[in-house]
């Protein structure tokens, strides 16, 4: 999967300006950058949720908009930030929607096993029968992630998945992302605000500033004192912990 010269303008102002990069298959890629740098918009264009003004998004050799929607939904899943449902929907029913591309409304035995596993992965067993509008923001977020896991796609796109999560669940989520990649061979693309999560759990990092790519490379290449200071305009100190460059800023 790669993107070439993608551009998005709102009211004539380019939010994403001629961005090109290739997504390393079977790896975790994090998109970082300050607010308004265009990370989420890039994510939206990668996933066909946001229309491009120009450029190309190639998914497995075919332009992404040419894919049949149903087929694409078996290979690429996206979770955005804005999810509010007014329906009376239980956690389990929500997770079951992840199987929709495969079996429509009718769940098979295999679907149910996959749903069980996704619920266990996200530690949702205790409240799988609760309505999602009665859960806390963090619990709801985990339910949605379980749904994406149940969708069982090669590519998983998560837009700020650690929002609303406390340190325990955010760290757990990042570990799950790692496992999805290492154990199941999935390609995961994340938009993250926490640089240290990005540095510790990703293979590659793409940093955006003002709608353009500032740096793209392995974690060690991108997370340096100079790069981060340039990107975020504050002072950074980098420490190597467990072989990963973690940053301190103040």
């Amino acid at each position: 999967m790669f993107v070439k010269e993608i551009t998005k303008r709102y009211d004539g102002k380019a939010v994403v300006d001629g961005v090109s990069f290739e997504i390393p298959k079977g790896k975790v890629l994090s998109l970082i950058g300050p607010n308004g740098a265009g990370k989420s918009t890039v994510m939206g264009m990668l996933s066909r949720l946001i229309a491009r003004d120009s450029g190309l998004v190639d998914f497995e050799g075919t332009e992404i908009t040419r894919w049949k929607s149903r087929e694409l939904s078996k290979r690429l899943a996206i979770l955005t930030q804005a999810n509010n449902v007014q329906m009376k929907l239980t956690v389990r029913e929500l997770v079951a929607f992840g199987r929709f591309p495969y079996s429509g409304g009718r769940l098979t035995q295999e679907d149910n096993e996959i749903i069980d596993r996704a619920i266990a992965y996200m530690e949702l067993g205790d409240f799988e029968e609760q309505f999602i509008d009665e859960l806390s923001g963090g619990q709801r977020q985990r339910a949605y992630i379980a749904m994406v896991i149940a969708q069982d796609t090669e590519y998983i796109l998560l837009d700020e998945p650690t929002n609303n999560l406390d340190i325990y669940h955010a760290t757990n989520l990042m570990r799950i992302v790692r496992r999805l990649c290492d154990e199941l061979g999935k390609t995961v693309i994340l938009v993250l605000h926490e640089i240290n999560y990005a540095a510790f759990y990703s293979d590659y990092i793409c940093a955006f500033v003002d709608g353009k790519i500032a740096k793209f490379g392995t974690v060690q290449e991108v997370i340096t004192k100079e790069n981060l200071s340039d990107i975020y305009k504050v002072d950074f100190e980098i420490m190597q912990i467990e072989g990963k460059p973690l940053s301190i800023y103040y």
């Binding site: 996933s47 066909r48 949720l49 929607s69 149903r70 087929e71 694409l72 939904s73 078996k74 899943a77 996206i78 979770l79 955005t80 804005a82 999810n83 509010n84 449902v85 007014q86 329906m87 009376k88 929907l89 029913e93 929500l94 929607f97 992840g98 929709f100 591309p101 429509g104 409304g105 309505f131 509008d133 969708q151």
Partner: protein, 322 residues
């Protein structure tokens, strides 16, 4: 387990509907007099059928519409869709005149209205959703403005109309439960059935659509096309109901939300069935009361408007807290 409980609930509703129907067809009928009996049946049967059809059309259209715009306090009639139909109907008469075949043939007039309504309403409402970005408060606000806008134009048209033409128009424009437009019963049933059949694929996607646009696309739904088609279906359903019994602003709101509260599920097969059954109970039960207890002094639409208004406020207030 929840599904079984809901099946039981729907069964209870169905029994209530049958009870209301039986009550409506028997209370006050003189069984001993052959002629009076036949007369009563001839009056009541078309009304009963019209009410059943109306409940079906408004009940299902309201649930579908709410799911399209992902909000449960909005219904097509609150946004003036029924007023738009009245306006179109009047305008067609106004242009064609009372001497035309449209004035004589109710079915032809209905077909022309439907065609115009389908085109105009789809354009107006999809533009409205797009412009307001599905923001429900804006949609409601503009919808309310549209409602009075449509009805003002309609009133203006009737004012400048030839009195004779107005007279012809009046008899079938202000269709009500005491004055059911029974000429178009057969065609209405055909339209409703045809629309449901043509859009059956989209109806099956309703459950997924309620997850919102992003999730629906993620799960492989061709969102924009699906919404467009469902909206067209909704306008045709509302048009049919309005043509038969006139505008009923709050009925959809009441029955759709009763169904949602009663069944507490996301499954549209159940929600729509519930809403339709509630509609039948409210309409037929209400009409029974109006005819037998209040002896026609208050039309059922007044009860629905008053009750619905209060219920609407209640929903607005309780939603805020959540």
């Amino acid at each position: 387990m929840k599904t079984h409980k809901n099946h039981l609930r729907l069964l209870i509703l169905l029994l209530l509907v049958l009870l209301a129907c039986a009550g409506y067809m028997t209370v006050g009928v003189h069984f001993e007099n052959q002629k009076l009996f036949a007369y009563a049946m001839r009056i009541r049967t078309p009304k009963l059928i019209a009410m059943l059809i109306t409940a079906f059309a408004i009940g299902s259209a309201s649930i579908v519409f709410q799911s399209i715009i992902n909000n449960t306090i909005v219904t097509p009639c609150l946004l003036g869709m029924d007023q738009l139909y009245s306006l179109i109907h009047t305008a067609v008469f106004f242009v064609a005149g009372s001497g035309s075949f449209l004035a004589v043939n109710a079915n032809a007039a209905f077909a022309v209205d439907l065609a115009i309504m389908g085109a105009v309403a789809t354009v107006i409402y999809s533009y409205l959703f797009q412009k307001t970005n599905h923001n429900v408060l804006y949609v409601l606000l503009i919808g309310t403005v549209l409602t009075s806008f449509f009805s003002s134009i309609q009133t203006t048209l009737t004012r400048v109309m030839d009195p004779n033409e107005y007279d012809t128009l009046l008899t079938d424009l202000v269709a009500s439960f005491s004055n059911v437009n029974s000429a178009i019963l057969a065609l209405s049933v055909a339209v409703l059935a045809l629309v449901a059949f043509a859009f059956r694929k989209e109806l099956a996607l309703l459950d997924v659509l309620t997850l919102g646009k992003d999730q629906a696309i993620n799960l492989g739904v061709d969102y924009d096309r699906c919404i467009r088609r469902l909206l067209l279906g909704v306008t045709l359903y509302i048009a049919t109901a309005t043509a038969m019994v006139g505008p009923l602003a709050f009925l959809g709101l009441i029955i759709a939300n009763l169904s949602r509260q009663f069944l507490r599920t996301y499954r549209h097969s159940q929600l729509i069935t519930g809403s339709v059954l509630f509609g039948m109970v409210v309409l037929i039960g209400g009409q029974l009361l109006v005819e037998r207890v209040f002896v026609y002094s208050v039309p059922v639409s007044v009860f629905i408007t008053v009750g619905g208004g209060v219920y609407f406020l209640y929903l607005l207030l309780t939603q805020r807290k959540a």
